[in-house]
């Protein structure tokens, strides 16, 4: 009698363990991550994303214990690579949600394919307005657009001391849109507006030109920290007294390091600083510093957010495969992120508090009013 009783319990226990084991062995939730992994910004974004996956999995995963698995592909700023890897992700790897990317050009191409395949695309860093203007209901964008950064320009406009503005921008979608925005807002207070190539390393001509134009403010718009850092350094080396303005969204500590004394007093704005006081941010910053031995900044947090929000949305929608439900969930709810509460508007644009105004003091980026 006892033997049978124990036997039955053992069977139940075994079944229970098997079920748990089955749950543990449950298939991971695959998330597609695309980025220009060979570039520094790409690497930073990927690291943020990886951290998010790690933290989620450490918290027990989603949808009943399933782990997040990131499938990462290099797009190398090439739209055709973006298309190729997106296709691979959607067909071979069977993902339904793709996150990441830095370049607007690649994002626009990827978007087409995602749209054709009815997949969710969460663009982390691209700033070009067109990314959320296609009318597709499953595309989302985390970064602020150049239009949203308008607040920064409004502030410039209101500053009476800013009368002669020189703009030095990279020859990319970001740079050109910035020039257009500044010209639109500041009109003929823009005394010089020139672009530099992404491969350029010699900027003395541009800086000298700005000096010659009598600029009292020089605005730099470039996504490569080695380029804008160089430009700032030159302003110091060539003893320019003009105010150093860095367009929103690009200033980071490495750029400041490269700029040396040239960064001192430079002002900018962004949607995130690591010193933000939100509960999730503390966890994020500490975990990032522990894992990567560096302080995360905007790019890292957007990478983090892209995976974090995707996972939360899947959890809320109760599915990892139904793109429509996931997208609906993203639209309908507000989400916790290191930068505070995030919601999405109808076009998929993330709204998360305002622009933080920054200034460089003693080699460090600090917030200011």
């Amino acid at each position: 009698m006892k033997a049978v009783h124990y036997g039955r319990r053992a069977l139940v226990a075994a079944a229970f363990i098997a079920a748990c084991g089955g749950a543990w062995a449950q298939s991971a939730v695959k998330l597609g991550l695309i980025a220009p992994t060979k570039s520094l910004v790409g690497k930073q974004m990927v690291q943020g994303a990886q951290l998010a996956a790690e933290l989620i999995n450490a918290d027990g995963g989603i949808l009943g214990g399933r782990k997040i698995e990131l499938i990462t592909y290099d797009t190398n700023f090439q739209p055709n690579e973006g298309v190729a890897v997106t296709q691979r992700l959607l067909t071979q790897d069977g993902v339904k949600v793709i996150v990441g990317e830095i370049s607007s050009t690649v994002a626009l191409a990827t978007l087409q394919l995602a749209r054709a395949s009815n997949a969710v695309f969460i663009a982390a860093v691209p700033k070009h307005p067109d990314v959320t203007k296609s009318g597709y209901d499953k595309v989302f964008r985390l970064n602020s657009t150049t239009e949203m950064d308008g607040e920064f320009i409004t502030r410039l406009k209101a500053d009476a001391k800013v009368q002669r503005v020189a703009v030095i921008a990279e020859n990319s979608d970001f740079g050109r849109v910035t020039i257009d925005g500044l010209k639109a807002q500041l009109g003929n207070r823009v005394v010089m507006a020139d672009t530099y190539e992404m491969t350029q390393s010699e900027f003395s001509t541009l800086v000298t030109k700005a000096k010659a134009a009598g600029a009292d403010t020089i605005c730099v718009a470039g996504s490569n920290m080695e380029q804008y850092g160089n430009i700032l350094r030159l302003q110091d080396e060539l003893k320019l007294t003009a105010r150093r303005c860095v367009m929103p969204g690009i200033l980071n500590s490495r750029g400041v390091q490269i700029a040396g004394k040239g960064a001192e007093g430079a002002f900018s704005a962004d949607i995130y600083v690591p010193s933000l006081q939100t509960p999730l941010n503390k966890r994020f910053v500490d975990a990032y510093q522990a894992k990567f031995k560096e302080t995360p900044e905007k790019i890292e947090v957007l990478g983090f957010e892209s995976v974090w929000l995707a996972a939360q949305a899947m959890q809320k929608a109760g599915t990892a495969d139904d793109a429509a439900k996931i997208a609906q969930a993203l639209h309908a709810n507000s989400w916790e992120s290191p930068r505070g509460k995030v919601t999405f508007d109808a076009s998929g644009q993330a709204l998360a508090g305002g622009l933080l105004h920054l200034v460089v003091k003693d080699g460090k980026i600090v917030t200011t009013k």
Binding site: K38, S39, L40, G42, K43, N171, D194, T195, Y196, E197, T199, Q200, S201, E202, S204, T205, L206, T208, K209, A212, N224, M225, E226, G229, N230, E237, L238, K239, R254, Q257, I258, G260
Partner: protein, 288 residues
């Protein structure tokens, strides 16, 4: 007027970099008749060597500078053995060597990118700047120019007064005749390659404090070097120097009026025009 003067000063340091890189390229072409497509990578590796020596080994920049050319000479030898020397005797040797150096260029650039990552790196050279009237010159830029001039002077002396230099010129003028009089042309070719790599490496190390090291910095500079070498005349040392400096200054002055993209396109058009009207370049000989 003073703007132009400032620009000329700015342009001379960039021009010196072009001249140094073009010098190595033109020497290699003169002696081996090969366009070394990996030359930009020598420049990049020079910068890398400087960065590694300063950041990781903690050596002072000024000590590192003379060491870089030595390291690059070894690299040059390796590349020559891999992709030039063994290919030249073939029927299509010149075009095969062209292709092989191209493959080496990709290998080096992507190899460094893969192993080291894409992060740009900066080291301090000579900080600060000098003010002469209304013209401001960064100390490092001045240093680049002076070292470059010294290097060119040394090279010129070597070519004209030393046995090695004379042998090099002999092989460049007539390989067969040089062989006949007992010059080891194969060794000459190797040494020329090493010298070219050393000079390019030095340029890289000189420029890194000004324009940062990135694994792709070689690609950007090599096309400009081609422009200089072709317009200056393949195999002409004077051509490389004069046209290198001229290109730097021209870019600086044109940059006042046009965006960089158009300036570069204009410079390239100049290249094509030269090829059309005077393929041997300004200082080159007609013998093709």
């Amino acid at each position: 007027m003073e703007l132009a003067a400032q620009q000329i000063v700015n342009g001379l340091s960039a021009g010196m970099a072009y001249a140094l890189v073009a010098l190595g390229l033109t020497l290699i072409f003169g002696v081996l008749h090969v366009i070394n497509f990996a030359h930009g990578e020598f420049y990049m590796l020079g910068g890398l060597a400087a960065v590694v020596a300063v950041r990781i080994l903690g050596l002072p920049y000024l000590l590192v500078l003379p060491l870089v050319p030595l390291v690059l000479a070894l690299v040059g030898l390796l590349v020559e053995r891999l992709s030039v020397g063994p290919l030249l005797p073939r029927r299509d040797g010149l075009s095969d060597a062209l292709l092989a150096t191209y493959a080496v260029s990709l290998l080096l650039a992507d190899g460094v990118l893969a192993l080291r990552g894409p992060a740009p790196e900066r080291i301090d050279g000579l900080e600060g700047s000098l003010q002469l009237g209304s013209i401001i010159i960064g100390h490092q830029r001045l240093f680049v120019f002076v070292v470059g001039l010294l290097g060119i002077a040394a090279l010129d002396y070597m070519l004209r007064r030393t046995r090695f230099g004379k042998q090099m010129r002999a092989v460049a003028q007539n390989r067969f005749a040089a062989q006949v009089v007992g010059i080891d042309v194969k060794a000459m070719g190797q040494r020329t390659f090493m010298l070219g790599a050393a000079i390019a490496g030095l340029a890289g190390a000189l420029l890194v404090p000004i324009s940062q090291f990135t694994p792709l910095m070689g690609h950007n500079v090599v096309i400009k070097a081609f422009v200089v070498v072709v317009i200056g005349g393949m195999g002409s040392v004077a051509g490389a120097v004069v046209c290198g400096l001229a290109l730097g200054v021209l870019e600086a002055l044109l940059g006042l009026m046009l965006p960089e993209g158009f300036t570069t396109a204009l410079v390239y058009s100049l290249l094509l025009l030269t090829l059309l009207l005077r393929p041997q370049g300004l200082f080159g000989k007609v013998a093709r």
